[in-house]
Symmetry: C2
Subunit: 253 residues, 2 copies
DNA sequence: ACAGTGGTTCCATATTATGGAACACTATCT
DNA sequence: AGATAGTGTTCCATAATATGGAACCACTGT
């Protein structure tokens, strides 16, 4: 009975059960899981015990399985974005309006950058919708900010070369980050995509921690290096104004 | 070389890797995982491929591992609470003020009820902090509401008997839910804890879907059945008033 | 009291996961 | 350029490990 070609029957079964538990609206009992996936009672029980021991699943009062603490904790870390979006959206709008270019808000999320809000400028040629896209740290203005201020760490492994101008050497990236910290803003020129330039500045939590970044990006013919520098300062000012407003803690759990 | 006493080496190793990936700030490469957990390269690679195939993990551009789509989707479903808390907090405050008793807000979350906000009344004897506590559907007023209006489904397995008065028979629970729908509110009397009574009413999304419930609870000597009925109506009114206010969509991603 | 359902533990069995070796690829150093 | 070190994947013989039937408890509801 060679079901799977590769040697991962146990892990495949465990994963299937785990995923089903996560996606199921009403927590399944061991017996149901056993029947649904045609895995013998005893095996099902053993797998679930293992997952439970690791904290990936948990039993509710009735013995049915729900997501475990490890996963709920993970979920919490993922979704602290909406507050930031709400707080910064007006800044994005104002920046997009005054510059005419596209404004973006990004946060560092588990290794990759997450773009969580965008306001388009009034030009026809401009950045397309980036929200949800995955963009590498080292080739974007937003990413350089997050790296420079410790909101993210330089990823392991190769630094992917996206264009001829992309920074792929670690020493060069480090010195670039140093200069970002000196200026207070970060720029890219053709490093992410040919003809695309951008400038970004940090968004801070009330305790000073950098938790995100805001950028303005557009085509290089329209934005000179001088423009970028000027816009960099404008972004910084705009964020400062917003952050002067005290915001009480919202929400409970 | 019998490492584990139970027969779950593969699952244990896979879980360990998965959890490490979720908790790691910077995504680990296969080689690092292999070294950290002293699992041979080949085995590590095979396990990671299996997890990737299932969508539990994903590779970033550099080949390092981050949480997969299944898990990020799960995270999204978990945290849509904060909006509701923000919208309903003032209602809780008003209810706690007018009744003097403790007000709670709950949502249905993956099988178990999640209490996400609470405002205490002015009595010294009252409900303690419930936020974060896990309370079964069938023995709480909030839970009965969520069940009655389809925001949650009756859990599989036994209905735990918490006190002598807890409803533990499924037919009885069904008829109770029927009567809840007739009245528009739900009550409990000594069913969750001896001497504790509560009344709850549904919170609806703009499309009419019930997504949560608000309750008032206190000691039975202070709240008669008549009081509960009256408060039930008050809660319903209060929620109606708030929900008349239109709320624009917030946030982007 | 008894049948029925659900869950866990046990243990002999062989299926399945294991890990060393060989291979392929890329960047860094000389 | 050529050499080297570090990484990731595939292959395959081996035995360690996961498997699942059966026995055993525990609990309801009839």
């Amino acid at each position: 009975m060679n079901h799977t070609l590769n040697g991962t029957q146990a892990i495949d079964r465990a994963s299937t059960l785990l995923i089903h538990i996560l996606e199921c609206a009403t927590p399944p009992l061991p017996s149901q899981l056993s029947r649904t996936f045609e895995i013998p009672k005893s095996t099902t029980s053993r797998i679930l015990s293992a997952l439970e021991r690791q904290g990936l699943v948990r039993r509710d009062r009735a013995g049915a399985f729900v997501a475990g603490d490890v996963l709920t904790a993970f979920a919490r870390t993922q979704n602290q974005d909406s507050v930031l979006v709400a707080r910064m959206h007006s800044a994005l709008e104002k920046l997009a309006h005054t510059t005419g270019e596209t404004a973006n808000l990004a946060v560092a999320s588990n290794g990759e950058m997450k773009l969580i809000d965008q306001v388009d400028g009034h030009y026809l040629l401009g950045a397309t919708n980036w929200v949800g896209k995955r963009i590498p740290y080292h080739a974007s203005a937003l990413g350089k900010i997050l790296l420079a201020y410790g909101a993210a760490t330089i990823p392991m492994g190769r630094l992917e070369k996206l264009t001829a101008k992309t920074i792929t050497s670690r020493p060069r990236l480090l010195s670039e980050l140093e200069s970002v910290r000196k200026k207070g803003y970060a720029t890219i020129t053709d490093e992410l995509e040919e003809g695309l330039v951008a400038v970004a500045a940090p968004v801070r939590e009330s305790d000073g921690r950098v938790v995100g970044a805001i950028s303005i990006s557009g085509p290089s013919p329209r934005l000179t290096q001088r423009d970028l520098a000027k816009i960099g300062e404008i972004i910084i000012d705009e964020i400062h104004i917003l952050q002067a407003i005290p915001d009480g803690k919202i929400g409970a759990a």
